[in-house]
Structures are given as structure tokens and as C-alpha cells.
Symmetry: C2
Subunit: 202 residues, 2 copies
Amino acid sequence: MSKTPALSKAEATKQKIVEQAAHLFNQQGFAGASMADLMAATGLKKGGIYNHFASKEELAIAAFDYAIEQVQLRYRNVLRQERHSLDRLIAIVHTFRDSTYNPVVQGGCPILNLAIDSDDTNPVLRDRAKQAMDDWRSLICKVIERGIKQGEMQASIAADQAASIIISTLEGAMMMTKLYDDPIHLERAAQHLSQFIKTMEA
Amino acid sequence: MSKTPALSKAEATKQKIVEQAAHLFNQQGFAGASMADLMAATGLKKGGIYNHFASKEELAIAAFDYAIEQVQLRYRNVLRQERHSLDRLIAIVHTFRDSTYNPVVQGGCPILNLAIDSDDTNPVLRDRAKQAMDDWRSLICKVIERGIKQGEMQASIAADQAASIIISTLEGAMMMTKLYDDPIHLERAAQHLSQFIKTMEA
């Protein structure tokens, strides 16, 4: 195991700001998270925050990148435990469903939240959400393409089309589950998608 | 046809504020739509707006209710043209898909936007989003329940479960279509749901 170099005090403070801000922005949105909220969450004064970030937008981007890194780490760990491409897809679906019980960051899916928050208002944040969504689609496409190559999935499957369906269903169900504070919608989505994924078997 | 009574000047101004605010809130969110934005959109001064609404929240609720009324009117008109329950469900899916080309209010689905905007922050607005979502689920459930009663759909179908799937898939696809400014995700969702709905046939 490689040693992680110790963070300087300034780097540690910056990292702490990013982590606290990730939860705050993911719950309250970019416009909804005020400087007073950021100060309360981090325990720092305005100058202590702006010492590390040139603007609220720069902090929001760092916070989103941190959230996405944590999410991607979780999926990588889950996928390492599955070999068959169908099991890998179902593991992705179950990991998303279970995130409602065990969230990486408070407030639901960071991509969904940033997409809705930024799509009509902030092109810089919207591009960040797009990049994260591209990675999420690409992860699913790679699992399907490898599944086809290994003869586990039908060659006729359009990977990007299936990725749209899986992600749409999960993200919409996350919205409903958060709205009602009721996991049933994500449970139903996961069940529906498991059936959908099984129809892909070669 | 019944005559609609003419609006007083004050009522007409109030109605105009609500309509303009509906587009603004649906695009920018509750926190993101500032008083300056509302003044620019309506062409009124702050006092001219607060003359009609006690608070920004009261205006946001009126704007959301207006948006939902318009959306519900569209679905009622569409459903009036279909008799078979399968056709009615598919018409709901197609109407949602087509709203990306022909939106009732700018900014995508008002329920999705308000749900994400309010779920962790504003219980009053969140309850409003829940009410609208209840109506949307209830509409789909009634179509399915009538379909079962008339022998057009399988008696084993759980209406509320199917409603969760249909709404989740559409709302998630709306998020992706808006994020990428690309109708393909809603097109794929509509195609997938049409197949899903066809499996319900008796």
C-alpha cells in the first residue's frame, strides 16, 4: 500500500470546506446555499473560505467533484465483486437504490440535483453535471459492451439506449423517493430494471 | 359555453405576475429567482408585486399551481381523444415526451423541478410538489384500474407500482434531455415505456 502524504494545515482546511460544502450544496442547491450557510457548515468566516476559493462557483465545483469521486469509488468497489455482466448491471442498480439508506452525500444523487439546479441557469455547473453524467453512462455502456463481447448479453443490445433507460428510471425514482421520503419508488424501479436487465441475457 | 367573467385590472395584473413567475421559478428555482429577476420578468416594481402577494413563497405557490393547472389541462385534452386504456397510457407517455418540443412552461417538468428544489429545504413547497405528484400518480392509477375493470388490462397489474415506473422513467429522462439539450433520452424512455405498457394487455 502506498503512503498518502500528510496534508498541510491549509490543505486540510481546504479539504474540510469541500466536504462540508458538498453536503450543503447537494441539499440546498447553488443559489440556495448562502454564504451564511457555508460559514455555519464549515465553522469558518467568509475570509477563511475565500482564502481557499476564488468564488462560490469555484467552491461548488470542488464540492461536486468531491461528491462524484466518492460516488465513483463506491461503484468501483461494488463492481470489483461481480464478474458476470448481468450481475454487474444489477449491482449498479442495487447500489443506487441502497444509496437512499446509506448516502455518500446528504441530499440524494449529486448529478440529478446539479442537473436540475443548473440546466437553465449556469452553463459552467451544467457542464460539470454533464461530464459526471457522461462518466455514469460510459460505465454502464462498458459493462454492456464487455457483456456482448463475452457472449453474456445479446449482440443486438444498444448499450447507450439501455444506459438512458437505466439512469432515467433510477434518477426519476430517486426524485420520487426523496419527495415522499419513501424508499418504495426506488425499490419498484430496481425491481423493474432487474427484469429489464434479465431480458438482455444472451 | 359559459361566459368567463372579465377580470378586474388588479386581477389581470395578478394573473400576469403569476404567469411570468411560473416560467421564471420553473427555470431558476425558488432561491435562484431573485426579486430583481421577478421585477424584470413582470415589468413591475417590488411594491407592485408585493401588492398582490404577501411573500415570495406565496407567489411561488401561485406560480406552481398555475403551471400544474396548465399541464393538467393538456393531459385532460389528450385523454379525451383516447378510449382504450392502453392507448390512454401511451398517450400520457407521448404527451410527456412531446412537452420537450412544446413546453407548457419553460424549464421542464414543474413537479420534477420543485421536488428537487424543495425536498431538503422547504416543507411548504415540497408539500405542493407532493400534491401535484399525487394527482399525476392518481391519473395513471385510474386509467389502469379502469383498464382492468374493462378487461383491457391484466387483473394482476399493481396500478401504483406501474405509475411509479412510468413517472420515474419519464422524469429521469426529462432531466437527461434537459441536461444535454437532446430529446433522445425522452425518445428512448417513451419507446421503453410503450413496450412496458404493451405487456399489461389482457
